[in-house]
């Protein structure tokens, strides 16, 4: 029988983020939560960031560790302590939860029906494409055509982002999951700045999905179901007023 640590660490709470972080995200993370990221570029490191809460002493160490996850993408936020009377961490917990909410780009279907959120978002003009005519046979050149068509049209609408203090261009990618008929859409906006006031809306028939842009300017919508009743996909930038 082996020993155990004389002073074990207690887990106070944890949160997970399902998306991998980039260095650009790390800057936002530091700004919003105070977490210092140091080991992001080393895949062998487990603890890749931290925030020390309270005094930096071993006998009262309360530390928010940012760690990798074993087999899942993304990161984990562990608030651990070796103190018998750790300082309050609720405020930090709220900051972490808020960061995760803002970062997570994929929202659930029909989230727009959340009436509390609706009035705050104003849509720029939609970009509409007849996806079925170009995509149903899934040939690569058709997908490429659809991408190019959407990118050109959406890029045309990109100036609408000026209302959120952004300007630039848009890139669009479309994909069908291998085993399904749902649509995956990724839109990247090639500008610098905060994307907290911008989101992407995609709609096919009655099905609508919105996705926030992450700090790299990428919004991802996964699994937007096709609708036998319509041939049209609508994409739009939305600006929070």
């Amino acid at each position: 029988m082996t020993s155990t640590p004389a002073y074990p660490a207690r887990l106070l709470w944890f949160e997970t983020l399902d998306f991998p972080l980039t260095w650009r995200d790390a800057a936002d993370l530091a700004e919003q939560t105070g977490i210092v990221v140091l080991g992001l570029d080393d895949p062998d490191e487990w603890v890749i960031g931290y925030r020390v809460i309270g005094p930096p002493s071993l006998d009262a160490a309360t530390i928010l560790n940012l760690t990798r996850r074993l087999r899942l993408p993304g990161v984990r936020f562990d608030m651990t302590t070796t103190s018998s009377a750790p300082p309050p961490t609720e405020d930090v917990h709220e900051l972490v939860k808020q960061y995760i909410r803002e970062y997570t780009p994929v929202l659930k279907l029909h989230q727009e029906t959340d009436s509390a959120e609706l009035p705050r978002w104003q849509s720029a003009r939609s970009v509409t494409v007849d996806y079925r005519a170009q995509l149903t046979d899934l040939r690569k050149q058709n997908l490429a055509l659809a991408r190019a068509h959407l990118a050109e049209r959406l890029n045309f609408e990109a100036p609408a982002l000026a209302a959120a203090g952004l300007s630039g261009y848009a890139q669009v990618d479309l994909a069908f999951p291998p085993a399904g008929t749902d649509l995956d859409i990724t839109v990247g906006v090639g500008v610098e700045g905060s994307f907290s006031r911008v989101r992407l809306r995609a709609a096919i028939g009655e099905r609508t999905v919105t996705a926030r842009f992450n700090s790299a300017g990428i919004a991802t919508i996964k699994g937007l179901a096709l609708d036998p009743g319509t041939d049209l996909l609508h994409l739009a930038f939305e600006i929070r007023s």
Binding site: S3, Y50, A61, T82
Partner: protein
Amino acid sequence: MYVSDDSGYQVKDDDLAFLSLTPADVKAMTDHQIPLGMNAAEFEHFRDTLAIAATRDGIDDFEARLQGSSAKFFAGAHKEMAYERASVVDEFEAARQRLPEVLELRQIFDRMRAVWPDPADRPKRRPFDAYYKLGIERHGSDYDIQISSDELALRAREKLDQLELGDEYEMRHPTYRFIKKSIVYYIAPNLTNWATLESDILGRKVTLAVFPGCGPERITDRPEISSHHRVTDWILLEGSGRD
């Protein structure tokens, strides 16, 4: 003469100036008095709190060695200095997960040419903080702490047994052979906290690599990455129960 790398390149005063080091810093390092990047008070705190962390984790059979460029001036033989444009961009991209801007790349090469103007007279291995000073890496060189302890190795195995993972689960890194850091996080929380707190105090990453008591095995097929115990190693600390 200060130190040289395995190509025979001898460190010069201009190198030290570029790296914000003094001859006294290098002598303190070669005498195993103070690692590069710390002062005496910081090192005393570093070592004292390492001993406390090991005690709090309940291990006394350990030995802690300082590896890497903070202890030897040059990084290991597997880390060659990049001088060619493509390899510098590769290193930049690996460190920062993006391509450099034209301005950044120009500045890197301007600095490189200023400190090493003669391509025939350049270090082959990476000096301490060189990539940071050149602008390739975002942070300065880290402190590599090698902990060897049978107690921790047994504790790691026991942790895996609790998870009903048999011997088929490899608990050590496939190449470097340290016990996976995801396991050390749970079996040595105070050493993990120590590394975090010292990282915060020193402004450099402090990394732990934990091995069984005999240390890393010699990697014969890739000797350049082998970190097996050597007589020239800097032993920081030994537990009271160390044989």
